[in-house]
Symmetry: C2
Subunit: 205 residues, 2 copies
Amino acid sequence: MEFSSKLLERAVNEMSQLPGIGKRTALRLVLHMLRQPKEQTLALSESLHAMRNDVKFCKSCNNISDVEICEICSSANRNEEIICVVEDIRDVMAIESTSSFKGLYHVLGGKISPMDGIGPHDLTIDSLVEKVKKGVIKELIFALSSTMEGDTTNFYIYKQIQDYNVVTSTIARGISVGDELEYADEITLGRSIVNRIPFESALKL
Amino acid sequence: MEFSSKLLERAVNEMSQLPGIGKRTALRLVLHMLRQPKEQTLALSESLHAMRNDVKFCKSCNNISDVEICEICSSANRNEEIICVVEDIRDVMAIESTSSFKGLYHVLGGKISPMDGIGPHDLTIDSLVEKVKKGVIKELIFALSSTMEGDTTNFYIYKQIQDYNVVTSTIARGISVGDELEYADEITLGRSIVNRIPFESALKL
């Protein structure tokens, strides 16, 4: 592509570094910005700058935060004896929006994936193990994706902490609420039969 | 969506103002930025700021430029007697990449579209008519989209300049080079038969 303006070219090149945004999409977005009021683009630019410069990661759970210890970790209403282990902050947001969990989180920052060159020491597993060693935590809930990498990560953490007095659990896998059985995949359906729950306890939900 | 950081929330909100980018995509993009080196996001932020603040529109043709008169308009190698009328700067880039046109451009900034509230005075038609009045221009080539709005705009400009001594033409519509006839739509195929060209002149291309 030949650009008539170096400023335009640089903006398009920078935008097209983002995942899923090619040169043509970047050009469309940048031309859209030029048609909008100037303040809008300046606000976008400023917000990205501030976010990248000033955002912090909670020293306790590694969640994104504006302060040293995030709101969840510093809240008096949360049960610090239960820790939910998740991959990234999107999972924290997803679980928080259910309002079903009142414990704390631990954000790993990914999962063990040798194919992508991510080993245990690229994640925050060590600080999780340190937390467990202190003896306050009674239960760890593994809420990682149900993939080989997720299962590997779960198992790695489990081996590290099995000598300490802590209960481990994983979130339930099964048929989605509202789903028809005939459209469920066999593995999920098979597991949901093996891991069936007493009807009385399902009634309480 | 509940965000654990106001900085993150603001960046996501600003990103999701862009066309085709919703909240979830914006969050994915912003989290990607947090995983990349800081310099990359700061460069993106800076380039958008500079582009929106400093980019100019050529005083002659309305094309995007870093200087008052764009490179095309100020070039000694271009024929200032032929003006190609286009909708926006993407069309200039598309035609420039063919290397088939050695005249100048006039960027309208859109096309007349009463449904979208765009009238003739929202476009740069007046300055085009002024240019024609000066008498230097010998030919206007209409290269707008082949839609009702494009045709309306062509006709509006034509009515404004018909009393002046200037030839008007539109780019040829027809079957794409390399296309099979059976997959062409009827209107295009029909027009390409009505507007057939002598075989000898096709041989020269």
